[in-house]
């Protein structure tokens, strides 16, 4: 047996801001790892600029650096900290890549830092395609064959070698164009010939489309003891990225032979590679002959491992971190049972269905097709004891306006096309096609989805048809529908009834669900598990109600644009505070990428839907003394009123008062009464009124449907013609809601107050300001706290307003107000009587936990502390993290619609330092001194000083025509580049493609739009050139780049900013 020396100090690399392909799952894995290492007495140092995470709470790692995860900064931190070891596997691809870089550049060796867990050589074997194939072939494991070719002759030879049909993929830059199945040589000659005209490389690959996609989560210790914790099968076969697929755990259509053959191979492969800790292995499995290919091995915790962890209850990250320290699997206990060994494979007596959450419309991605690249921004997981039950639960969990398969908001022009060429709404296209009588076999032919899944969809359809029958609804029919996951609301709709009446009838007839435990071993041993779900396939409850003293917390649901890890932080901190106050806590959430769904974060975890029906089920069973609706973002907030109307106790601000802030008319009337100004607005239901309003207040206008989350479908309208266009589209978008139009104020500042009140009295508040002028969604804005550039008068008045609003709404708990300030005038844009996304940010920057204060307020605990939150010795800047490079065609410009997928925040001694670090922390960097600047006339004057400084600092400046001429008049030299549409050289296009810039500042005009500008922005993203499109942040960044002090920042850890 090998023995490892226990490290004393370990640096953990986090994953940074959330983005497509790398979301909150790494907060889960990092948090578990920190907990596990600390348990061993190890001093932990975490580097992660994601301030909204649980892992960066002060009771987690011993030392936390809110610093960029780049080699330069991290090397400095390692030099300062001198740890004996580092972990690379808890921070996604970011941490893994960074770790490899630190290894390759010799930093780790120089500082004598050991990599915990899987050795770097093994990581490399999984990361490098060629080494990977080589290593696996050593033990006779098959990998997908792929040959890179550079001309037609090579392509033909490669295809011959692999055998038809083959998959042809064009290398880079064409964005999937030219890819596809090729059946014979003649076809390849024709198609490859075409593609080679545009690109230099064509990949000839084995054709695996339509094979089943299966993965295993494998855990291995230093002695080679290996288990597979979970296997998972994709509903969508090969061709669709697993992050874009509906996934079931465990596999459903694999025979025992297939299940265990792949399992055995997984163990053999992972042993051969030499993983220590956790990894995931993905297979393609031929549904006809059982042949297989290994697609890839991820030598780190991944999205799949988070899912497997939640699906089985096995704490993968926690165990993996112990194994990295040299512990053996059998020396660890099964955390769920507390008695049995961690060396075991969970047996499920339920199944889990994971479904991706897309936000393609909000991200303005033109293309809704899904495929080999990830586009989804979050996911949900549903547990049930039948596939239809879990599937329909998952649909509701997504919060996309679908009540289940039979009640979705989509309309299709060509269903069969969307089934064959999958889009984000394929599932619903299939259901609608079945409804029209298209056969299961036909759908299988188009989609290659296994008939087992498709037949279940048909079962659901049959039940829907039976529910539509006019005969009286009997309880056995109702039970059948409930077992297949139909919601009361859907049943009511199909029967022309109301949800409340269906529920009443159901409960009266004893058609109620039962509560079951996730115990990891299918009931074989007694387990004190608190991990629960609700099902109709059962007779008895596994647990007894917690009853009084219990408080239920509604979580955030899936990560999506506008609702992210920050609300998970809020939920976790709520549970923490409640527990401290002697309450029993019940968390309800549906998102497997969260920390709040770790079963040791609450007394009870319900992995369940966040719907009125399910919360009623849970509350009826548990009878808690209160429900917290104000920490889970908008989904939870929207449940306040219906829950209160049904008599459930809401903790904190009353539902009526929450509604008073949500309802524009009521809120406006209230502000009017308080003498608080707000931008002129009007709710319109027809174009005539809208036009009249436009004439009255003048353009631009801001339009949006009422009750929106993160500005969904919000838009700035520059002229009457646009207004017409928008309203035609918008009314189509949401027919139930009228459209709100308000005056859009140009060149104004935005500020926010996050606060906590008790019985209407303000207890604490934090005032922050946006660097961008008004017009950028607050979720996409760069936020400074404490505010640095506000007039004292403005500060005083904002505080006054916050006090008045809190009093008028009789707020008890968290709230957030957004203001617009111009020429000393202050207007309120909106108020949310719930925790906002900036709560973790202001809490960690001010040093006061706003959620803890809010929960204490809700519990009625007196609080007379005077908090100092206005003037701090430091400043912090929160920057948005965008995922534009993941979304082909999306316009990378921040506007009134939120588009960022995450955020980071860094501290500094000055605004510039904090801003610069924070910008770098979004994984961007300026590698040289070549900048392109193009700003519209309305902003040009602002850039004079910065341009002069750049010139003095030796920068090479490129400009657009207008900017060039302007700077020239100021005595600043620059190289003029022609617009794309000018078709003249030197053009901007060839400069970007020729990698001439290290940075681009390209600010669009608010007054006129140009398609050229879009092409430039997109080119910048596609060529990985750092791009800023906002005048204020652009100017600030230029200032930072020419600042001497910022050239060598010494990274400080969080608590260093709070001298005792």
């Amino acid at each position: 047996m090998k023995k490892l020396e226990m490290p004393k100090k370990v640096v953990i690399l986090g994953s940074g801001g959330l983005r497509i392909g790398q979301a909150g799952e790494f907060d889960y894995s990092g948090s578990q790892a920190i907990k596990s290492l600390k348990e061993e007495g190890i001093y932990t140092v975490l580097i992660n600029p994601n301030i909204a995470t649980v892992q960066t709470d002060d009771d987690m790692a011993d030392k936390i650096y809110f610093q960029p995860l780049n080699a330069k900064t991290v090397t400095k931190i390692l030099e300062q900290e001198k740890p004996d070891a580092i972990t690379l596997s808890f921070g996604g691809q970011t941490a893994l890549n960074l770790g490899l870089e630190l290894h390759d550049t010799g930093v780790l060796k120089r500082l004598n830092i050991r990599v915990l867990g899987t050795p770097v050589s093994a990581i490399k074997a999984t990361e490098d395609r060629e080494i990977f194939k080589q290593v696996l072939s050593e033990i006779g494991t098959k990998t997908a064959r792929s040959i890179a070719t550079y001309n037609l002759k090579e392509a033909l030879a490669a295809a011959k070698k692999i055998g038809y049909p083959i998959m042809m993929r064009s290398g880079f830059s064409l964005g999937g164009l030219g890819s596809g199945r090729i059946d014979n040589e003649a076809e390849l000659k024709h198609r490859a010939g075409e593609v080679f005209k545009a690109v230099s490389q064509v990949l000839i690959e084995e054709y695996l489309m339509g094979w089943k996609e299966v993965e295993y989560e494998v855990v291995r210790d230093i002695d080679g003891n290996t288990i597979t914790v979970c296997n998972m099968e994709n509903f969508d076969p090969m061709g669709i990225h697993t992050g874009e697929s509906i996934v079931v755990a465990p596999s459903q259509t694999l025979t025992n032979e297939e299940y265990h053959r792949l399992r055995e191979m997984a163990i053999k492969t992972i042993n051969h590679i030499g993983i220590i800790g956790e990894c995931n292995i993905q297979y393609a499995l031929n549904p006809v002959d059982g042949d297989y290919r290994v697609i890839e091995v991820n030598a780190r915790l991944s999205r799949s491992s988070a899912l497997a962890s939640k699906a089985t209850g096995y704490p993968l990250a926690f165990v993996a971190s112990k194994l990295m320290l040299g512990k053996r699997l059998h020396e660890l206990k099964n955390a769920v049972t507390g008695k049995t060994s961690a060396f075991y494979e969970p047996a499920l007596d339920y199944l889990a269905v994971k479904m991706p959450r897309w936000d393609l419309t909000k991200l303005k991605a033109g293309d809704h097709h899904i495929g080999s690249e990830m586009k989804s921004v979050g996911e949900v997981m549903a547990l049930g004891r039948s596939f239809p039950e879990a599937l329909q639960k998952a649909i509701r969990m997504l919060n996309i306006g679908a009540e289940g398969l039979s009640a979705h908001p989509y309309e299709f022009t060509d269903k069969l096309d969307e089934i064959k060429n999958a889009t984000d709404r394929r599932l619903y296209a299939i259901y609608d096609a079945l409804k029209e009588g298209v056969s299961v076999d036909k759908i299988h032919d188009l989609s290659r989805i296994d008939n087992w899944f498709l037949n279940h969809l048909k079962d659901i359809l049959e039940t829907e048809e039976d529910l539509r029958m006019p005969k009286t609804l009997k309880s056995d029919m109702l039970m059948r529908a409930k077992k297949q996951g139909f919601s009361d609301k859907t049943i009511a709709r199909l029967r022309g009834n109301t949800e409340a009446k269906v529920r009443k009838f159901r409960v009266k007839n004893g058609v109620v669900p039962v509560v079951k435990q996730i115990d990891t071993l299918a009931g074989e041993f007694d387990a004190e598990t608190n991990y629960l779900y609700v099902t109709y396939h059962g007779e008895t409850n596994d647990v007894k109600p917690l009853g009084a003293k219990a408080v239920a917390i509604i979580g955030s649901g899936p990560y999506c644009i506008g609702s992210s890890v920050e609300f998970d932080w809020c939920a976790v901190n709520t549970a923490k505070t409640l527990a401290k106050r002697g309450k029993k806590t019940i968390i309800v959430n549906s998102n497997p990428e969260t920390v709040s769904t770790d079963f040791d974060r609450s007394d009870r975890l319900y992995f369940e839907e966040l719907t009125l029906e399910r919360l009623q089920d849970i509350a009826d069973f548990e009878t808690p003394e209160g429900i917290v609706v104000s920490v889970g973002g908008q989904i939870a907030n929207n449940l306040a009123l219906p829950l209160a109307h049904n008599g459930y106790p809401i903790l904190g601000t009353s539902a009526e008062d929450i509604d008073k802030a949500e309802d524009r008319q009521k809120f406006s009337t209230m502000l009017g009464g308080l003498g608080i100004d707000q931008p002129e607005w009007q709710e319109v239901t027809n174009l005539k009124n809208a036009k009249a309003f436009g004439k009255k207040v003048g353009y631009p206008l801001l339009v949006r449907p009422s009750y929106v989350l993160s500005g969904g479908a919000m838009s700035v309208i520059k002229a009457e013609k646009e207004l017409e266009l928008y309203l035609n589209r918008a009314t189509h978008l949401s027919p139930d809601h009228p459209v709100v139009i308000s005056r859009f104020i140009l060149n104004a500042k935005e500020l926010e107050i996050d606060g906590v009140a008790q019985n209407g009295k303000l207890l604490i508040y934090a005032m922050s300001e946006h660097i961008e002028n008004a017009g950028v969604h607050s979720g996409d804005a760069t936020v400074v706290y404490p505010a640095q550039q506000l007039y004292l008068e403005t500060v005083r008045r904002a505080k006054r307003i916050a006090k008045d609003v809190a009093r008028s709404l009789n707020i008890t708990g968290p709230f957030n107000i957004q203001f617009i300030a111009k020429d000393n005038e202050l207007k309120v844009i909106e108020c949310n009587v719930r925790a906002s996304r900036s709560f973790p940010f202001v809490s960690k920057v001010s040093g006061h936990n706003f959620i803890a204060i809010a929960i204490d307020a809700m519990l009625g605990l007196p609080n007379n502390t005077a908090y100092q939150t206005l003037e701090l010795d430091h400043v912090a800047v929160k920057s948005p993290q965008f995922s534009y490079n993941r979304l082909k065609g999306a316009d990378p410009v921040a506007g009134v619609e939120m588009a960022s997928t995450g955020e980071v925040a860094c501290f500094g001694n000055s605004l510039e330092e904090a801003f610069y670090s924070s910008w770098l922390a979004t994984e961007q960097q300026v590698k040289g001194k070549r900048v392109f600047i193009s700003v519209p006339d309305e902003h040009k004057l602002k850039f004079i000083d910065e341009a002069k400084a750049l010139q003095k600092d030796g920068w090479k400046i490129y400009t657009s025509e207008g900017t060039h001429d302007f700077l020239k008049k100021q005595g600043i030299n620059s190289t003029k580049l022609y617009k794309i549409r000018d078709k003249k050289e030197p053009s901007l296009r060839s400069a970007i493609e020729g990698k001439k810039f290290d940075l681009m500042i390209s600010v669009p005009s608010l007054i006129e739009s140009s398609s050229d500008a879009y092409s430039i922005r997109r080119l910048a993203i596609d060529n990985h050139v750092p791009l800023l499109t906002n005048a204020e942040t652009g100017r600030l960044l230029l200032k930072c780049l020419t600042s001497e002090e910022l050239k060598n920042i010494t990274p400080k850890y969080w608590k260093e900013y709070f001298p005792v």
């Binding site: 047996m1 002695d223 080679g224 003891n225 288990i227 465990p250 596999s251 459903q252 259509t253 694999l254 025979t255 025992n256 032979e257 299940y259 265990h260 399992r263 055995e264 163990i267 549904p287 006809v288 002959d289 053996r328 699997l329 059998h330 008695k339 049995t340 060994s341 060396f343 075991y344 494979e345 969970p346 047996a347 499920l348 007596d349 199944l351 004891r385 039948s386 596939f387 296994d450 008939n451 087992w452 037949n455 279940h456 079962d459 049959e462 039940t463 039976d466 297949q484 039962v514 071993l521 299918a522 009931g523 074989e524 041993f525 007694d526 396939h537 059962g538 007779e539 008895t540 596994d542």
Partner: protein, 368 residues
């Protein structure tokens, strides 16, 4: 004496017809009555009549229902599947572990209406029907499993009307061939496979190693014959009921050629050596049983199906506990300190379940 190649049988294939309305065959209300007086409700297919009694046991495997229900060790037992969806991939008769369904009945949450796979020849429902094996589905199997875990395995009856099954020791039916059978007759090395209800995959595993296998009845005395090794198979019921098998095994130990016991064979070997067995409260039935090899501390996930176990303290001198269960520390294998006698309580031949310990066959072969 019969010469055979591989034990593979085929039957006529049938396709599944389903009526609309969720249930794919018409059903009626059914029930399970346990000997302690408790009752669990469910549904039964219309074709099913009468009352069926057996010892109710649960298995936590998530795949391998074909292998499980054809495992002779389950004879006289009503098998409860804790995984709720059973029958998903239909039935491929090639994966059966014996010539027929051996269980006395099956209980599950959902019996698949739409099996899907390229290989299946028949649906599980049709197969059960064809062999008149009772099924009770739409049962809260988790609730039932927890009940059995707390109260221990007990007798139960599946039927439509109330029954009062008794917990007498269920008639010990030994499942074995009556005449020896020879496989791979041309192979040089010859092993005796003592059939106490052997799973076919033990035979397949031995044949795959190019060994000549003489499968003999449970009470057959092979000690006078020429052989290179003995395999004691799995089988149903109480190991002490296999007195003739134990007696012959005792003689084989004197001869000193390699002996390899599997499952019941582990208990038979232990009893032959002079040890004792006892009945576990609810047995080990599943595919995730963790075992540790005592001397190497290497751990393996194993497939198991047994209700009895060897008592570690009863083992005579010169016998060591070879494997232990990591969950309850029970004996999962024994071996002689110097002679080539060893046995495991789990199923190294897998099918169903994990293949981690398949190497034990190779270990045995090398000793021959």
């Amino acid at each position: 004496m019969v010469n055979k190649s591989r034990p593979v049988k085929t039957t006529k294939t049938t396709r599944i017809n389903r009526s609309s309305g969720g249930d794919f065959f018409s059903s009626k209300t059914g029930r399970l009555d346990l000997s302690d007086g408790s009752t669990f409700g469910g549904k039964m297919p219309d074709w099913q009549t009468g009352s069926f009694t057996g010892e109710v046991v649960f298995n936590t495997g998530m795949s391998g229902y074909v292998e499980s229900i054809t495992d002779p060790s389950y004879s006289n037992q009503i098998l409860v599947f804790t995984y709720p969806l059973i029958g998903n991939y239909g039935v491929s008769l090639a994966s059966a572990e014996s010539g027929k369904i051996q269980v006395a009945g099956v209980i599950m949450s959902e019996l698949a209406a739409h099996p899907s796979h390229t290989k299946p020849e028949i649906s599980l429902a049709e197969w059960l029907k064809s062999q008149n094996i009772p099924v009770l589905y739409d049962v809260d199997t988790r609730s039932l499993t927890k009940h059995l875990r707390v109260k221990g395995t007990m007798a139960g009856s599946i039927g439509t009307t109330q029954a009062k099954p008794k917990d007498m020791k269920l008639e010990s039916k030994i499942i074995s061939i009556t005449e020896p059978e020879i496989y791979n007759p041309k192979s040089k090395k010859k092993v005796i496979l003592v059939d106490c209800g052997a799973k076919d995959n033990i035979l397949r595993s031995l044949c795959a190693m190019k060994l000549q296998v003489k499968k003999v009845p449970y009470d057959y005395d092979y000690t006078k014959e020429n052989y290179d090794g003995v395999v004691l198979s799995n089988g149903p019921g109480d190991p002490t009921d296999y007195a003739p098998t134990i007696a012959v095994a005792r003689k084989a130990l004197k001869i000193g050629k390699p002996v390899f016991g599997i499952c019941l064979g582990n208990q038979v070997l232990g009893l032959a050596a002079g040890g004792k067995t006892f009945k576990l409260k609810f047995g080990h039935r599943g595919h995730n049983q963790p075992c540790m090899e005592s001397d190497t501390e290497r751990c393996y996930i194993t497939s198991q199906n047994h209700g009895y176990a060897l008592d570690a303290k009863s083992l005579p001198k010169n016998w060591d506990v070879w494997f232990r269960n990591l969950n309850d520390d029970s004996v999962e294998g024994i071996k002689h300190v110097s002679k080539p006698f060893f046995s495991v309580q789990f199923h190294p031949e897998a099918c169903p379940g994990p293949t981690d310990t398949n190497f034990l066959f190779e270990k045995f072969r090398k000793l021959l």
